[in-house]
Symmetry: C2
Amino acid sequence: MSESTERRHRVVIVGAGFGGLFATKALRRADVDITLINGTAYHLFQPLLYQVATGILSEGEIAPPIREILKRQRNVDVRLGWVTDVDVDAKVLSVEAPGIEYEVGYDTLIVSAGASQSYFGKDEFADHAPGMKSIDDALELRARIFGAFELADLQTDPAEIERWMTFVVVGAGPTGVEMAGQIAELAHRTLPGQYRHIDPRKARIILVDAVDAVLKTFGDRLSTRALRQLHLLGVEVELETMVVGVDATGIEVDTKRGHQRIESMTKMWAAGVAAPALSRRLAEVTGAPTDRAGRIKVEPDCTVPGHPEIFAIGDMMALDDLPGVAQVAIQSGRHAAGQIKRRLAGKQTGQKFSYFDKGSMATISRFSAVASIGKLHLSGFLGWLIWLAVHLLYLVGFKNRVTAVLHWAVSFLGRGRSERVATFQQAYARAAVRAYGDPFERRKEEATAGSKHG
Amino acid sequence: MSESTERRHRVVIVGAGFGGLFATKALRRADVDITLINGTAYHLFQPLLYQVATGILSEGEIAPPIREILKRQRNVDVRLGWVTDVDVDAKVLSVEAPGIEYEVGYDTLIVSAGASQSYFGKDEFADHAPGMKSIDDALELRARIFGAFELADLQTDPAEIERWMTFVVVGAGPTGVEMAGQIAELAHRTLPGQYRHIDPRKARIILVDAVDAVLKTFGDRLSTRALRQLHLLGVEVELETMVVGVDATGIEVDTKRGHQRIESMTKMWAAGVAAPALSRRLAEVTGAPTDRAGRIKVEPDCTVPGHPEIFAIGDMMALDDLPGVAQVAIQSGRHAAGQIKRRLAGKQTGQKFSYFDKGSMATISRFSAVASIGKLHLSGFLGWLIWLAVHLLYLVGFKNRVTAVLHWAVSFLGRGRSERVATFQQAYARAAVRAYGDPFERRKEEATAGSKHG
């Protein structure tokens, strides 16, 4: 283990999302030592987060352990941690994990740390309108959504009931459309008959966006179909509407008709992304330019300008206006891996990354999705079948596929939702806690401490 | 809806655990209005909590929504809330939920609010050794257990590695034995080969109890078998050992050989129960006597002395030294329901509750369990088959059964654990956070806020 000149080429990959994971896998037969650093122990299948939030899937089904996925790949060392700094001269990363700070040296670095939610400078909105980027987000939204119906059922004041039964989704891209559709299905198919004091079918689901069409990137035809489908589900779609305020009990919007306040306890944010702090830091130390979202403007081969040994891929790169979708991350990850293999083989590198658009899709309700694949535009049941096939193909791991299919059968063929658990830590109904304080936490402490009562 | 004399008899049931749920179901054809009040929206199948903690099952599989279970029972109103007071003269309960306080009047009251963890007066232990009573507990333990291996893999100091790879389970009853067995299986079957710097098989799992036998209530023969099985799994069993201190990095014990400190980041508590605050409050207002754990010493018919209209059942009652197990709760719940039906039918009430002991069982590892059923003492594979059959029978809901069987197949026949997700809110590795502070939370805030870096 001495620092001989014969040591293998060290590839460090930051982030085990689609980009980092597929780059790692593409290097499985390469003569390299890979270190894969991630802030959690699992890979996250982000496109299905909305199904965790609405009680269809368990978090384990969309978040298999990285070690489990890669257990047969001998050339990778999986490390838990958060990259806090990068020294591009010494080629060393500083990493932090609970209780320990450590350094990792690299010969080639691939940064694929994804994106975080952007509130367009209004970060105070985050408390009241969680994003949809992590398992924590999804479970908190699950707690808030199901908690809202529970608490509506307890209210007697009609205004209060309406406030609890109004759900606002900000952002009419795929995530927002899918969330709105699933909440509508919950309200109309799963929950009716389960409450004595409210009718869940009377829930209002409002989808808000500043643009003038839902699923705008899917093109006019699918956008129109999606809008019609949302209307059929009872979702109110408010386009060309700017969100100007979010607080515990409502949301303020500017529409074409003027300013308006929507009373709502349950808001969620699916409206924008920002590059992670690592992206800004990398730009700072390399002098690389970034776009408005903080993504690094990479060279055509996905490397950071002036640093052919550093690749920025997926949501962290700004290149050719490519969208922030899984396929871009996967393909740019494979591209980076391919470049590394060429370099090791003594071949010329610097090949341009060319993205092959496999299309995009979004489910709107059960059995109905829109899919845009090249010139093919599909909607309805056919679109949904394609959605199902593609998601099964990419869901990592046999076990996850089997139980996910079962849970889908339960929720698509039946009416049930198997995963409706909210924890206290996820705040049973965080909206109420924000607005009124948390009686449960107090009671729980009392119960544990065995202190006074009543 | 006027307060006419013809209104139906109001039964209020506090707690939707085994006692409350089975009492509710037993009244499904009774001419009563039932209000079922619970602090969460789900029923919890507590005997399988250890499987959620060790990554076998998802929380949804052992915690079906109460409304879903009872959706066909028309005479019950399910209400979220925490009972904060009881007025036995006015026959009114005060209830609190996030954002609302409300009152519920009763003609007959069944209290079945279960038990909380007891640290025998040392509540400060709770921070460092979570109990095993709720979904929150199980998910926090899951985060700590899997997090411990992740963090051990990052350490270079042998003492630190050992501290992370030492797991202490306090309490050698069924829950403690099952936890210790499952952690051993994790270390020996699931995780080997997945780490580059540690060998998970070197993990120490220490089971500690003040008594002189594991599973003491199961009798000598099964106790001895269980002990042998635990030894085969590599679990160190320390009996006649008192826990006198628990802190972030270890545990202090008094053994026959004297005082000892065990360095361990991951401790869990399965050692004692205490009645909930409601039990003490009820004793206070009725003058009913309680036992040391705070349970109400009920009349032979499970009613509170002097209050034939109030039943205290399951873990909240002290009667004939009955153990705090699901069957006692279920049968006392059915007994209370039966008494209510007799009263409504004008029949004599006050029948003595007689418990039919269906036996007890505990799994130690896959394919191996001990089961004590009347005079029948089974262990090994046969005991395990009985365990499987009984748990399938009592797992509520078809969907949960199907996916639970699948997850069991994965973990018993294979080596995998499908549900290994830890959230940030559950503290990725709470032990480290307690000991060293939480770098992740800070990073997460930075990432969201887009503030400075490095």
